[in-house]
């Protein structure tokens, strides 16, 4: 059976905007895709360990040395809005 999804909730988590039609289509498509994907549970039994990375690596550290890096101008060069060498964003917190 296709999986039932609360599209509005997931869209809110993902910060995505959809029209009513898009939501209806997504609900149907994701339900079918997840139904197919749930096939993994047929063989993923408790005694099988999970693999996150195919070729395991432990923590990779480098010497703490200063190397060439981007200038402030380069870092800000793609920003939609800049003020005083900083990224400018709309209000984040309410001010009394």
């Amino acid at each position: 059976m296709p999986v039932e999804i609360d599209i509005d909730h997931v869209a809110r988590l993902a910060r995505l905007e959809f029209t009513v039609d898009e939501k209806a289509r997504l609900r149907e498509q994701l339900g079918v895709i997840l139904e197919a994907a749930a096939k993994v549970s047929e063989v993923a039994t408790d005694d099988v360990p999970a693999t996150a990375y195919a070729i395991p690596r432990s923590n990779v550290l480098r010497p703490d040395e200063i190397t060439p890096s981007l200038t402030v101008e380069e870092v800000l060069s793609n920003a939609p809005e800049v003020e005083d060498d900083r990224f400018k964003v709309p209000r984040v917190v309410e001010v009394e």
Partner: protein, 487 residues
């Protein structure tokens, strides 16, 4: 008629050294072909002609001075998910339409240092999500073998550019088959090396436990040359393996008598086109003729790989693509507050498939569902790796079709995500397991369209993989050419 731009990189490297042509002449030949066909193929999103001309002149000077590596002066195309300093890098997405990276990705930086010539950036499925190149925000790529057909994806522009003689070779990326499947559908060679062998510094991320840079070339030897130039440890990528840079053309021509080849039995069943099956079976006979020991191999959990992939890749994508928030780069659509600004920006900037995968991944990682989906998919990953370990106990390489079908018409699968996802059913296991794999043309089907054959080898067994592919390529003598340029 064969122009300079239709020849292999290895052939051109020899011609450059013999003084038979110059790098500028090779570049001119590529540019002329792009001018002639790209209005119909649409492989390129951006061209860097002026830059390329300077680079070609510099390469000619180095060749004249006798100080030029094998890649010098050979025109290259880069998939538009690979960052290039001062050259727009869009990922085929509206959200990055105006993005100009302040640095180069490591693979291009290494090639540039060797005298590389960059033709431009190639079209691809948005953020490399797709199997047909129809998910690009800038329109589909058309297959040089039939302009109403898809070239495969997501590295469709890179594959089509090499197939059409626009670029001599190209780089792509392969997360679930995005180098090998378009190579298969476009009749070129596509190599996905071992996970971590090529640095991903400057590759714009899709699914980090799977993303691999790969090569699209006209021959196996060219793939070996290109891998030699860009492979090996990069301190800028913490996930790159501690492997030295090495020459993968060494031993390429050693005969393959006695090499154990396992034919993956699950990859010849239902859903595989007869033309694909026949071509790959014929190639297996050729391998036997070369003295390889042929046997039947089994990957019993491969049938679960697609399901696992469509949980793991979207989950990682939903996390990676959270960075497109309208703050530091890319599109911004204004809103009353930060959340509204982000939501509108992402709604306007991402296309349908990218949104679908972000939603899928967000759901699979959300509270209450994580174990049931992402956790279970990671267990399947373990089972697939165990299948390979068992198979490679008995065999040196495995052989299968690269994709169940040859190139299909534009529009045929775009409204049915599950049908589209099946294109990658044979390529995904190598991404889940990190193994190197290569697609080479094995012949054509009844319609004259190229069929791709996939070879897979154990982690870091690229020398064996390339040696077998090289021997098979020579035995098959594939010389069909796309209709577009055969005249």
């Amino acid at each position: 008629m064969t122009e300079l731009s239709d020849r292999t990189a290895s052939d051109l490297a020899a011609a450059l050294r013999a003084g038979e042509c110059s790098a500028v002449e090779i570049l001119d030949s590529c540019c002329a072909r792009i001018d002639a066909v790209d209005g119909r193929v649409r492989a390129f999103l951006a061209r860097t002609d002026e830059l390329a001309r300077e680079q070609a002149r510099a390469a000619d000077a180095r060749i004249a001075a006798g100080d030029a590596p094998a890649t010098a002066g050979i025109p290259l195309a880069l998939k538009d998910v690979l960052s290039t300093r001062a050259v727009a890098t869009t990922c085929g997405s509206r959200i990055l339409e105006t993005y100009v990276p302040p640095y180069d990705c490591t693979p291009w930086e290494r090639l540039r240092a060797e005298g590389g010539v960059l033709l431009g950036k190639t079209n691809c499925d948005e953020f490399a999500m797709g199997s047909s190149n129809e998910n690009s925000a800038f329109g589909p790529v058309h297959n040089p073998w039939g302009l109403d057909l898809v070239p495969g994806g997501s590295s469709g522009g890179s594959a089509a550019a090499v197939a059409a003689g626009e670029a001599v070779w190209a780089l792509g990326t392969d997360t679930g088959g995005s180098v090998r499947q378009p190579a298969s559908l476009s009749g070129v060679v596509g190599l996905k090396p071992t996970y971590g062998l090529i640095s991903r510094y400057g590759l714009i991320a899709f699914a980090s436990s799977l993303d691999t840079v790969g090569t699209l070339t006209r021959s196996v030897r060219d793939a070996a040359v290109l891998l030699s130039a860009i492979g090996g440890k990069d301190p800028m990528d913490a996930t790159s393996l501690d492997e030295p840079r090495r020459d993968y053309t060494e031993g390429l021509d050693v005969e393959i008598s006695g090499v154990r080849v396992g034919v993956v039995k699950e990859a010849f069943g239902e859903g595989v086109e007869p033309g694909v099956r026949d071509s790959v079976r014929h190639a297996v006979d050729e391998l036997a003729g070369l003295g390889a020991q042929i046997g039947e191999a089994s990957l019993p959990h491969a049938e679960y790989a697609l399901s696992a992939y469509y949980l793991i890749a979207p989950s990682e994508a939903s996390s990676n693509l959270a960075r497109y928030d309208g703050v530091r780069y890319g599109l911004r659509v204004d809103g009353a507050d930060s959340v509204e600004m982000m939501t509108r920006t992402r709604g306007a900037g991402f296309g349908a498939e990218v949104k679908r995968r972000i939603m899928l991944g967000t759901y699979a990682l959300s509270a209450g569902y994580y174990e049931a989906y992402y956790g279970q998919a990671q267990k399947v990953r373990t089972l697939i790796i165990r299948d390979y370990e068992a198979a490679f106990g008995a065999f040196d390489v495995l052989v299968s079709p690269t994709s169940p079908t040859t190139a299909f018409p534009i529009g045929a699968k775009i409204d049915d995500p599950l049908a589209m996802y099946l294109s990658d059913v044979f390529t995904i296991p190598a991404n889940l397991s990190g193994m190197p794999a290569i697609s080479i043309p094995s012949g054509v089907d009844a319609a004259g369209l190229p069929v791709g054959l996939q070879l897979t080898a154990p982690v870091l067994a690229e020398p064996t993989l390339l040696r077998v592919a090289n021997a098979l390529e020579a035995a098959l003598g594939f010389d069909a050419r796309p209709a577009l340029i055969a005249a």
